[in-house]
Assembly symmetry: C2
Homo-oligomer: 432 residues x 2
Amino acid sequence: MKEIKVGIIGFGTVGAGTAETLLKNKDVLEKRTGVTMRLAKIADLDITSSRGFEVPQGVLTTNVDELIDQCDIVVELVGGTKIAKTFILKALEKGKSVVTANKALLATYGAELFAAAEKTGADLCYEASVAGGIPIIKSLREGLVANRINRIYGIMNGTCNYILTRMENEGADFDTVLKDAQKLGYAEANPSLDIDGFDTAHKAVILASLAYGQWLTLDDVRVEGIRGLSIDEINYANDLGYRIKLLAVIKNNDGTVEVRVAPTLIPQSSLLAQISGVFNGVMVDADTVGQTLFYGRGAGRAATASAVVADIADAALNLAHNCKRRVSPFRPGKQFDMVAPQGENVSRYYLRFQVKDCPGVIASLSAILAKYEISISSLIQREVAPGTASGIVPLVVLTHAAKEHSMLAAIDEIEKLCICAGKAGMLRIEDI
Amino acid sequence: MKEIKVGIIGFGTVGAGTAETLLKNKDVLEKRTGVTMRLAKIADLDITSSRGFEVPQGVLTTNVDELIDQCDIVVELVGGTKIAKTFILKALEKGKSVVTANKALLATYGAELFAAAEKTGADLCYEASVAGGIPIIKSLREGLVANRINRIYGIMNGTCNYILTRMENEGADFDTVLKDAQKLGYAEANPSLDIDGFDTAHKAVILASLAYGQWLTLDDVRVEGIRGLSIDEINYANDLGYRIKLLAVIKNNDGTVEVRVAPTLIPQSSLLAQISGVFNGVMVDADTVGQTLFYGRGAGRAATASAVVADIADAALNLAHNCKRRVSPFRPGKQFDMVAPQGENVSRYYLRFQVKDCPGVIASLSAILAKYEISISSLIQREVAPGTASGIVPLVVLTHAAKEHSMLAAIDEIEKLCICAGKAGMLRIEDI
């Protein structure tokens, strides 16, 4: 049986999970592929702390260059966009097959990395960079290769989905649940990457690029996170038959590609709305297959390792069968005319105003929306509970599809009305 | 760009969908793979009727041998286990790459076909044989290659799921919905293959074989269909928080593999229970990735074509990169000791008895269950609506896990009691 030497750089959570899986499921991997993937080297600054399983002698090293020289497949699990990039470029320069889970690096320096891989004919695999253990990259570019992709909807950040699920189930507010999530290890001490939507945006860049054949960057994505999302919005959405998810939306409208990440109302009855807690789900809507959905754990030691090892197996099969780059790391082949300019994005909207409980409110507000050609699909003003003396009531409006710049201008004008108290809440709606 | 010649045998629904997709999405396929897949030949007895799109001149033929000789990839979409097998063997003998959607053929003659492919080093791809457009085979054996598979649950027959969904939503009985489904084209004039569970069983054979490394046959599967399923069971299950689905269950319990197809109660709250109408869903539970779910259209011209063309692209990439059988059509590598013998299957059960409304009923019935070491998890006897004069009431029992032969023996004994009127209803429960 052909033996392929695997080296892992970064012996953290995912690195340890990957090493453990290679050791523990060695027999299964050999039976399924006919190739031996030998864990030859693991490089880390800390090679003495226990990671909960036994590492064979001679495998641990602090010398990354030695690892790159001695291994056929180099697995980068350091994270970040600095030293990780250096390691990957070094490995690619030597023609080594590279596997990475580094979404931030790919979203930022994808084009540079692909060019480096092409130069030496190297493989570069990154299944684990999107949606953890779900084989969404393989499914999108191989399983659905025959399709023009209409839309992709992704719940791809477990931290945010966990927070939103708990807010909805417990009626708790954002700050309380975030603090608890941090205590439980579901959110980082500095949670910005997750809750401000950037982690999801990195993944959206990768999926959109693969779907439409041109490598995009974060600049092409409109990003809003869930920080400070009010429990009121979740409750109102719920009353109207919707659930709020941090959703990546990737669309191709007649040649105009739109990529955005935002807390979004989706119908409670949709399958995506059922994805709760730390789980991820990606729905792909395409011209031939129709609607498909892929669900699973989007993060964690073992689930991410499942995707990393799948990439190792793919790269190992390519080496064993002498067909590197059989599926190119990224094959340009643009399938759109332009990325939608800021403000030109079109979607339905959920608006929540705090208004004075007096005559003429709905008339003034709806006149402004009409002026901007924004059509109302439903409007709810509830009576205030007795004893609430403020005289301020929430007015919730759902609109039909409108352009973002019209919506922002209308809201700006409405907020200036004397009947309006404080900032309006604005969220997008997707009728999946 | 390397050109690969594709020939399709069988110009029926899926054949036409495949040909149309190859023509319509030619540009996308080339951009994504770097290979031209040219529709070179289509063979059918009827080459004059329109299939709704224009076929290039010289492509249509009635001569299968000519097609096999002239094409690099032979796509068998004739169906059935006779002439289709002859065509596939002929193509494999000549070393041609073969793509098929023929689940019945694979479930029956898989071992023979794989041997023929191995002899000439040919590729044999069959993504479309299971769950239509869902790339479940690629996901299972490549995306989840690092995993030991604990369980697979599949809703894999659109006809049955459509019937069950309508029965539940409308409270309609089986025969009425079946007749309507036949009128609407969702069920065949002879619906046996679907409603008696054999179509699902064919697919279960394929998934179980891939999961556990030995090619099984229909003899290894316990098959029950949904024919004549009473609306009462659906309603009682509903009351208890369950939904009834025709479920393929594939399990590996410490080396004993169990494959069965049966109408099964699953919790309403599970994601699988949300899969309604003609859609399919496959849940894979594995040691590294945890729980994953794959959802999409399980049948139909376009969705099935999506999977067939994905196989064509895989085979074409193998030809272009000179790496045929990079992923073997089937690689033996047994991961279990034995298939569970008949009667040794273990599961929870739903039982419905029609009993006389008199003292001692529950005592007699529960004594018999206890004798067979079957433990009751819940029991419901409802009051009869006033005016129902028969004196017969339904008694519904849910049990903890029990062996099938114990359960059958207990039911047999209970049915003989004088308090019992008619046959008992028995269904399995899976706590997903």
